[in-house]
């Protein structure tokens, strides 16, 4: 039996699962109907990716619904609560830039055929997420005075959570995009939050899991 908490795939699986839940909170509330469906599609892609990896790690339902917050290993940025549309888009962009490095590496360098299969599918899905979020970043950053202000606020709020997902390749994607969007250039060396590697989370994950897990825990083993 793999010990899930020491498993290197777990941050990816949990990151996709938790961000999928955060995106699903937009259902019926997005700024336009088209965007509502777009965020829903992306949430479903992420859920599929999470399931693919959790199935490799063990019993997917057990791992998703019966683990407590301290056993989750998602990057903290994924669990931060909703915020406005600018926050949602910038977070999705940051996480997609991370996954744009993760999935090709898993697709190319993994022994497990199952993991490779999940990763190869995810490479294409993530390319679209990156494109969708990436096209909104300059639109909002360089849009109206209010959208620029909201994007600047989102950048301030999210930047301290880049630590677990940032790499040289990540900065190479993110910094030019922020520049193109007329957003203030953030400091690469600025302080970042610690990671969830030792089970430390923000207070928000517990509430998210209560929402996500309560039905499965009230009716364990229930089938649709």
């Amino acid at each position: 039996m793999v010990s899930p908490t020491s498993e290197p795939l777990l941050p990816v699986a949990d990151g996709c699962l938790v961000l999928s839940h955060r995106l699903s909170e937009w259902m019926s509330k997005a700024p336009t109907m088209e965007e509502d469906i777009a965020l829903g599609n992306i949430a479903l892609d992420l859920l599929g990716q999470a399931r693919g990896l959790l199935q490799v790690l063990g019993d997917e339902d057990q791992l998703a619904y019966f683990r407590d917050a301290q056993d989750f290993r998602n990057p903290l940025i994924c669990e931060l609560p909703g915020g406005d549309f600018a926050f949602t888009i910038l977070r999705l962009f940051f996480v997609s830039c991370w996954l744009a490095e993760v999935w090709p590496a898993l697709a190319a360098g993994t022994e497990s055929g199952e993991v490779r299969g999940v990763a190869e599918k995810a490479v294409k899905e993530n390319a679209y997420h990156l494109r969708h979020a990436g096209s909104w970043v300059p639109r909002l950053g360089d849009g109206t005075e209010e959208s620029h202000r909201r994007m600047t606020d989102a950048l301030d709020a999210l930047w301290p959570y880049r630590g677990e997902i940032a790499s040289d390749a990540w900065y190479d994607r993110v910094l030019p995009a922020l520049r193109e969007a007329s957003l203030p250039e953030p400091d690469r060396d600025a302080w970042t939050q610690r990671s969830s590697a030792d089970g430390w989370h923000t207070e928000h994950l517990g509430y998210l899991l209560a929402d996500m897990q309560s039905l499965a825990r009230a009716h364990p083993g229930a089938k649709w």
């Binding site: 700024p31 336009t32 109907m33 088209e34 965007e35 469906i37 777009a38 599609n41 679209y128 494109r131 969708h132 096209s135 639109r139």
Partner: protein, 100 residues
């Protein structure tokens, strides 16, 4: 979106055409709102191709479409209704004719 005067500003409307397979022509499937062409293609992808409906998407600004006036339907379309000889089924093919 609600504008300052309390009215609803809508983004421009785009008509969406999909080609379901190579070799077929694009068919109109509906419309989306979008601020620019790039967003229109993305929105069309998200709204109309969730079940593998397409291999190609066209979007056209709805304002670019020139439409016939519904009030003109009598003069435009009714004359055709009585010209049944324009349908191939009007003609009887003699028994002796092959390859038709």
């Amino acid at each position: 979106m609600i504008n300052a005067a309390g009215g609803r500003d809508q983004w421009p409307l785009w008509e969406v055409f999909l080609r379901s397979r190579n070799g077929l022509h694009h068919q109109h499937v509906g419309s989306v709102h979008a601020v620019d062409a790039e967003m229109a293609v993305e929105n069309a992808r998200d709204v109309y191709t969730r079940r593998g409906e397409a291999v190609s998407i066209w979007v056209v600004p709805s304002a670019s479409i020139v439409a016939s006036d519904p009030a003109d339907k009598d003069e435009l379309f009714e004359p055709a209704l009585t010209k049944i000889y324009r349908h191939p089924t009007f003609y009887e093919v003699p028994d002796g004719v092959a390859n038709i």
